[in-house]
């Protein structure tokens, strides 16, 4: 395939991925907006006013970046996981297997599609948060970089999950038992400085902590961790996940008998 053909093929996947989550918006875009509004009202307004400040900022302001990140993570992941698993289930993935598209292109198409959903939801949640607080972004470029990288990373994760999954249950296990706990424990609602020393150290092995904190640093200018190292770590994770997905694809894992 020449460059034009590759670009057309990539756009074909991205477009149909975006069309998919737009078509079923009551399942994809609406629920996170509602859940996050609840979080803002309950934790931010009602409880937050009693908590006062966290790391020197208003509690409401403190949780907004974490909640945006949480939506980006779960939505990127589950978009690719359910879309790619669905196409395996319906066998329409065969349309791609018989085509001349290289594996990297198929993977990239789904990842861009998943990131698009994650970022779309992130944007909606950001818009909702503006009803509750003012966001005064400190480092816009860093903020954007981190959120895009996170969306990409979790989209690849969702892809791997879909490749390995054999039944529909298999694609909800990771979000429920891994992603949600790690996100909650990743400093969305609190600064790890509020934890005893031991638990602070344990928290530091949670990769999501780095993403949430870097993103929060981008917006508020406060962070529990070294921001530069965190960005590097996310980049390394992306490379590892991508290589892993490519290896599975080349082996035809879960795709070719």
């Amino acid at each position: 395939m020449n460059t034009t053909q590759l670009l057309i093929a990539l756009w074909t996947i991205v477009r149909s991925e975006i069309r998919r989550f737009m078509r079923i918006w009551p399942q994809t875009l609406l629920p996170p907006s509602i859940t996050m509004t609840m979080y803002f009202i309950i934790f931010g307004n009602l409880i937050g006013s009693r908590i006062g400040q966290m790391d020197g900022v208003n509690y409401m302001e403190y949780i907004v970046p974490g909640l945006i990140m949480m939506s980006v993570i779960t939505n990127s992941y589950s978009n690719v996981a359910s879309s790619f698993f669905g196409s395996k289930f319906q066998r329409s993935v065969e349309e791609m297997i018989i085509s001349p598209m290289p594996n990297a292109l198929v993977l990239s198409g789904f990842v861009i599609g998943g990131a698009a959903r994650g970022l779309a939801v992130g944007l909606i949640v950001t818009a909702v948060s503006l009803f509750f607080t003012d966001l005064d972004m400190q480092h816009p470029i860093l903020t954007l970089l981190v959120v895009v990288m996170t969306a990409i990373l979790f989209s690849i994760g969702g892809f791997i999950n879909a490749l390995l999954g054999k039944k529909f249950d298999d694609i909800s296990i990771v979000p429920i038992f891994v992603l949600t706990p790690l996100t909650y424990l990743g400093g969305v609602f609190y600064s790890i400085h509020t934890l005893p020393a031991f638990w602070q150290h344990v928290s530091l092995i949670n990769p999501i902590l780095y993403m949430v904190n870097t993103f929060r640093y981008g917006i508020l200018g406060v962070s529990d961790i070294n921001v530069g190292a965190a960005v590097g770590a996310i980049a390394i994770f992306i490379v590892i996940f991508f290589a892993c997905a490519m290896w599975l694809l080349r082996r035809g894992k879960g795709l070719r008998s």
Binding site: M1, N2, T4, Q5, L6, L7, I8, A9, W11, T12, I13, R15, S16, G86, S87, Q90, R91, S92, E94, E95, M96, I97, I98, S99, P100, M101, P102, G252, R256, S257
Partner: protein, 315 residues
């Protein structure tokens, strides 16, 4: 002439260690209309699956128009169109979008893809359904959708795995016409599998019969038909009889009082049999072929090959 498809020493062992293909060689010349026949579970879909890369081969070589599918994967794909046995499109997608998306996977520019898609939708009688979701189509329409999708990038080799299964008689004939047209006018090489031997007979120039993962016959249709050395007729009698009559020179079998089964070898005259029957005052009212003669031959070939393979197997 160049081969549209060349398969050498193809073996396939599935993950559950089932030997589905045991060293298949197949050569399909450019422009051919080729039938791959065989009973259920023979390995037809597995063979076509390997060609379309949906099944990983264990050993062997496959080339499409001289292009090795392992070495020049992408280039070989452009020559190939695939209509699988099972429906494999997104049931919620619109008919038109399914074909357009497939065109996109080949990197075909939008405008060209739309033009081609509309042409195919018309040719295959799906134009009125183009905005419907695929799940709303009837079974026969779904098959035609898969044919349209397989042709969108203008392949030179089209493989169809039971394209007419579940398609009504009238529609089947129009599909035959369509396949004949693209074979004759556009020079597309076609390989199909089918359980309707009449279909293979009326469409195909060459055939291969596969059984238990081995090719047991690979010849031209004409050659195959000339092998038909014996035909069996069913004779309906005017009055039931109780004992099977002896008809000199012929194999006769009494079926259920009112019917006789008569086997006629090549060179024998049916008239002689009738004469013998008349002598015994047995009156024949009507007569028909016991089964499609091709079907009989097919069953015999398959049975013979099964006997051989069973003999060869260590139990």
């Amino acid at each position: 002439m160049q081969s549209a498809l060349s398969i050498r020493g193809l073996t396939k062992v599935y993950d559950n260690s089932f030997h589905a293909l045991k060293g298949i060689d197949l050569e399909v010349p450019e422009g051919d209309f080729f039938a791959l026949l065989g009973p259920n579970g023979a390995g037809k879909s597995t063979t076509l699956g390997v060609v379309s890369s949906l099944v990983r081969k264990t050993a062997g070589k496959v080339s499409i128009y001289g292009i090795d599918v392992d070495r020049e994967f992408a280039r070989a794909r452009y020559y190939l169109g695939v209509v699988p046995q099972e429906f494999n499109f997104n049931q919620f997608e619109k008919v038109e979008d399914i074909i357009l998306t497939q065109a996109g996977y080949y990197g075909i520019p939008r405008q060209k893809a739309v033009k081609r898609t509309h042409q195919l939708l018309e040719d295959l009688g799906l134009w009125d359904k183009r905005h419907d979701a695929a799940r709303q189509l009837s079974g026969g329409m779904k098959r035609r959708l898969m044919i349209a999708r397989a042709l969108v990038h203008g392949p030179r080799l089209l493989i169809l795995d039971e394209p007419t299964a579940g398609v009504d008689i009238e529609l089947r004939r129009s599909m035959w016409q369509y396949m004949k047209r693209i074979n004759e006018q556009e020079g597309v090489t076609i390989i199909l599998t089918t359980h309707y031997l009449e279909e293979a007979e009326s469409l195909c120039r060459n055939i291969a019969i596969i059984n238990h993962g081995e090719i047991v016959q690979n010849t031209s249709m004409r050659e195959l038909l000339s092998q038909l050395s014996q035909e069996t007729f069913v004779l309906d009698l005017a009055e039931p009889i109780t004992q099977c009559p002896a008809v000199e020179g012929f194999d006769v079998e009494l079926v259920d009082g009112g019917q006789l089964m008569l086997s006629v070898d090549k060179g024998q005259r049916i008239n002689d049999a009738f004469a013998r029957l008349s002598e015994q005052h047995i009156e024949v009212v009507s007569m028909r072929n016991r089964a499609n003669r091709l079907e009989e031959l097919f069953v015999r070939l398959v049975e013979e090959s099964s006997d051989e393979t069973t003999k060869g197997e260590i139990r």
